[in-house]
């Protein structure tokens, strides 16, 4: 077990592209850290550099306080689980799991004992003598995990280990991974492009984009207080609604009506030659059917009316999509997120995603009065992407003083 320190780590490829740029990260002993971001953000490259599968162009990597830049993977005592599982097809499950131990020249009895134990933990015992070709996807995934845990390494590296499983199995395996990591208490770095995995698994989440870290923190922290547009848009499902907002007479003119702004933000906007155009961000769950809001709550937000497009009842709550007029919010970050999602991102003018309580009697086609919480909204500078509502790392909504 060990702590891992990334000190100004960079990766440049021979063709001149920079995949990772000056990354700083301290991973504490026993911590479960998630690297998350859209494809091409450098998360896998970073993982490979920690593993030793990829050379470090500059900066320093320390494991347990020791510089390991030039150490071969096998001298770093780290285990890795691959997205493709990378099981040795010519070996049985038992041989696959015993492989690292045999390479470490352990005696046969110890190897057998360790393999049996790991197999028991992962419920692989009845499969030990099968070949990978005769296993299901979930079983293969567990064998890959087994091969990693069997030698009790200093740290686990996992490269999108669940992304090849179907949705149901993925949820199931997520808890397996989580429990396993807690049980073993081994430092773990986990790469994923799935923000749900990032939110549910890690002690801390590192959001990357274009080879650089955007924000680091516990999942809830990132969710509540995103530093910039990218983080705000990436974390959360369905994702945050982004609307175009124009600053006029100390108010924000938006498709949801005129949004008042608090003293502090006003000062901030006045002081600098702040842009007159901002991006308003509201998460789906910060909307509510106006009928269901009590007076006390009503005061903390504002209301608007919009035509209902689609209602998706989830049982526990309802996803309601509204059509709203107005200009589309645009920023480089949003386009990038949209491209990664492989679809048009829900910007202004297209639609508003809200999560209303299940009691709401909302119906498709009607116009509905909706309330939203002003204390929870975010304002972003469209050019820099900065979250303007953030004060000392915390977001206080539009009204914050």
């Amino acid at each position: 077990m060990a702590d891992i320190v990334l000190d100004k780590l960079s990766k440049r490829f021979p063709d001149g592209t920079t995949a990772v740029r000056d990354i700083d990260l301290e991973i504490a002993d026993g911590e479960f850290v998630i690297l998350v971001g859209p494809s091409g953000c450098g998360k896998s490259t970073t993982l490979n550099m920690i593993a030793g599968l990829e050379d470090i162009s500059s900066g320093e990597l320390r494991i347990d306080g020791q510089r390991v830049n030039d150490k071969a993977p096998r001298d770093r005592d780290i285990a890795m689980v691959f997205q493709s599982y990378a099981l040795y097809p010519n070996m049985t499950v038992r041989e696959n799991m015993a492989f690292p131990l045999r390479l470490a020249k352990m005696d046969k009895q110890t190897i057998d004992a360790k393999v049996e134990e790991a197999a028991k933990v992962l419920e692989l015992t009845p499969l030990l003598d099968r070949k990978p070709a005769n296993l299901s996807g979930g079983q293969r995934q567990r064998v890959a995990m087994g091969r990693a845990i069997v030698r009790q390494p200093k740290a686990f590296l996992m490269d999108e280990p669940l992304s090849n499983l179907d949705a149901k199995l993925r949820v199931q395996m997520r808890t397996v991974v989580s429990r396993l990591q807690k049980q073993l208490g081994t430092t773990t770095v986990y790469v994923t492009h799935d923000q749900t995995e990032a939110m549910t698994l890690g002690d801390r989440v590192v959001i990357m984009r274009g080879g650089a870290i955007q924000q680091v923190g516990p999942p809830q922290e990132l969710y509540d207080h995103p530093r910039n547009l990218f983080v705000a848009g990436f974390i959360g499902s369905p994702s945050m609604n982004f609307l175009h907002a124009a600053v006029e007479d100390g108010k924000l003119r938006t498709a949801l009506g005129d949004v008042p702004i608090g003293e502090r933000i006003r000062r901030q906007l006045d002081a600098a030659d702040a842009p007159r155009e901002l991006i308003l961000g509201v998460r789906p769950e910060h909307f509510e059917d106006a009928e269901l809001v009590d007076d006390d709550t009503r005061r903390r937000g504002m209301e608007f009316t919009a035509p209902v497009d689609i209602v998706e009842s989830m049982g526990s709550d309802k996803y309601v999509y509204f059509t709203i007029e107005g200009q589309r919010a645009s920023a480089a970050e949003l386009e990038e997120l949209a491209a990664d999602a492989g679809a048009d991102f829900s910007g202004g003018g297209a639609g508003l995603v809200t999560r209303l309580s299940a009691e709401s009697s909302v119906r498709e086609g009607e116009g509905r009065r909706v309330w939203f919480n002003l204390e929870k909204i975010h304002l972003f500078d469209p050019t820099t992407g900065h979250n303007l509502t953030l004060h000392e790392g915390r977001s206080g909504g539009a009204l914050a003083d």
Partner: protein, 331 residues
């Protein structure tokens, strides 16, 4: 743990991202990177291992062939006829002019080209079919594979003799079967028989390489494709062929190289009569029979150059499927 408590520098502002971020490489940096990035230990170890692994093969190949090849090239620049040893002298490219303005050479060149194109094309198709049969057959796989490979295993000269016998009027079963003339004494029929003999003998070579390539096609992929509703032909062209590309390249490349140097079959079947000589036969006649080492070597170098061009085209056509090319997969 709060955001503020996270390690220094964890937050790279979006400023950096936009301003200098994406195009962080200022000219100075780029120059340094292109130039001498100091090699890490891993990199160095990888290089050393690469050289170490290649050294024995490279050494053997160079030691055995360097002198003979250099000597051939040197001879091609000389007038050197063993019948007139006194006239040996350095004449530059004169031999090349002599050969390239010679009608015999161009006739042989045409014959060789024809044989190469026809046999390789036919062999590719037949070889692919044969490979599929050898790979997929349900009945007697071992026997079929072995039987199919026997023609390649038969000593070429013997095989050629058997064909000559078969086509010789009076003695052969094929000659009696098909025609009343003597097929090996007419140009068109001779060439056809030469090509038939070539195809019969070397299709297994093609098939074996292709079959080994087929063995690499993942069954899962085929299954997935057929559940997606792909027809057998679509599965073959969309799934099988792309995976087999490297194997096809190797098979095609080496078959072409060999076909262009066709020698034994012609030597036995027609001895080059009726304008059926290949370029290799001409070279042989000059080098071994005629003992005109200068001209013979020149022809060798010309054959080599032609083959080199063909090989170059193949390798280019196949792009990243060629050995040693960077496929970018490593990242």
């Amino acid at each position: 743990m709060s955001v503020n408590a996270t390690p220094a520098g964890a937050d790279v502002s979006a400023d950096a991202e936009h301003g200098t971020g994406r195009h962080a490489a200022v000219p100075g940096q780029r120059a340094r990177r292109r130039g001498k990035t100091p090699l890490s230990e891993n990199r160095k170890a990888e290089r050393r291992l690469g050289w170490l692994l290649c050294a024995p093969a490279a050494l053997v190949m160079v030691l055995v062939t360097a002198y003979p090849i250099a000597y051939s090239v040197w001879l091609s620049l000389q007038r050197f006829d063993l019948r007139f040893p006194d006239e040996r002298e350095f004449i530059g490219l004169e031999n090349y002019v002599t050969v390239l303005t010679n009608d015999f050479w161009w006739t042989a060149f045409g014959v060789t080209m024809l044989i190469t194109v026809v046999t390789v094309a036919v062999e590719l198709v037949l070889g692919m079919g044969l490979a599929l049969v050898m790979h997929r057959t349900l009945v007697g796989r071992g026997i079929v594979r072995t039987a199919a490979l026997i023609p390649y295993g038969i000593v070429t000269v013997v095989a050629a003799f058997s064909w000559r016998y078969a086509w010789t009027p009076g003695t052969g079963y094929l000659a009696n079967l098909f025609s009343d003339g003597a097929p090996l004494t007419e140009r068109a029929s001779s060439l056809a028989i030469i090509m038939l003999a070539e195809i019969w003998k070397t299709t297994p070579f093609m098939a074996l390489l292709l079959m080994a390539g087929l063995a690499l096609v993942p069954e899962d992929l085929l299954k997935a494709a057929s559940t997606d509703g792909a027809t057998a032909w679509q599965r073959f062209t969309k799934v099988v062929l792309p995976v087999m590309k490297p194997a096809i390249l190797v098979a095609l490349l080496f078959r072409t190289l060999d076909a262009f140097r066709v020698f034994d079959n012609i030597f036995v079947l027609t001895a080059g009569g009726n304008e059926t000589s290949s370029v290799s036969m001409l070279a042989y006649n000059n080098l071994i029979r005629g003992l005109n080492l200068g001209i013979g070597s020149t022809m060798s170098v010309l054959i080599f150059l032609t083959v080199a061009i063909v090989a170059f085209v193949f390798v280019k056509l196949f792009g990243t499927a060629a050995p040693g090319s960077d496929d970018g997969e490593r990242r």
